[in-house]
Symmetry: C2
Subunit: 111 residues, 2 copies
DNA sequence: ACGGAATATTCCTGTCAAGGAATATTCAAA
DNA sequence: TTTGAATATTCCTTGACAGGAATATTCCGT
């Protein structure tokens, strides 16, 4: 999960991932759309690949890169444990503050 | 979106976010759960805050940090544009390969 | 086998961010 | 107003990483 996030932390890599959303692409195609140097793109693709975000398929001279849905699904699953935070209104802040107050002032005068 | 990912790219910060999932926490509480130095935690919280991932609420001496659901919701929205990749089986790879073949070999012998 | 296209790898350099230590700030209590 | 607790900030150093240039690799066509 950590690896995935750091892969996506780089702007160009995030861009690549978004490009691949619309279908597989060749290195050369990514190069011309991003306006980066070919070695740069290759290096970024390597990082994305090691993070499990993309898949390679060699076809003749070229290499076709493709998104790996599982990795994005992993993010989705991770997000899942947070989803209740915005799907249900769940403000524990106030009760928490009360707890703090009670714990610190510890005066039994209000009990 | 970029900022959010780089904030989560750091293991300790990811950990902090996961801690806050179960409710707001004080800096000191985070310090004792992570086993990090207090300055480290403060610095990480600063990054998280600037990325919009957390909110601060000063209460007396302490500062209570809280997750900002909107930021996680932003990730969710971003993921949304990819969701069809694993919800529907959408393998354009094969047809893409055919296209490549057709484009490169350009032999009208099959036309 | 050779030449060229597509891609990957290496080496180098500069930049940026994390970690540690020390210090500054803020607030409450006495 | 001094003291101490909780937190933030600064300074410094070190390591990782992106970018560029050059080179290596792989594959196809001839």
């Amino acid at each position: 999960m950590n690896t995935i996030f750091s892969a996506l932390a780089e702007p160009h890599r995030l861009h690549i991932v978004e490009l691949l959303r619309d279908g597989p692409l060749t290195v050369g195609e990514i190069v011309e759309r991003l306006g980066l140097s070919q070695p740069q793109v290759s290096k970024h693709l390597r990082v994305l690949s090691e993070a499990g975000l993309v898949d390679v398929q060699p076809i003749a001279n070229r290499r076709v890169y493709k998104l790996r849905p599982q990795s994005l699904q992993a993010i989705d699953t991770w997000l899942g444990s947070f989803r209740r935070l915005w799907e249900t209104r769940f403000d524990r802040l106030e009760s928490y503050l009360e707890a703090i107050q009670a714990k610190e002032n510890k005066p039994p005068d209000r009990s």
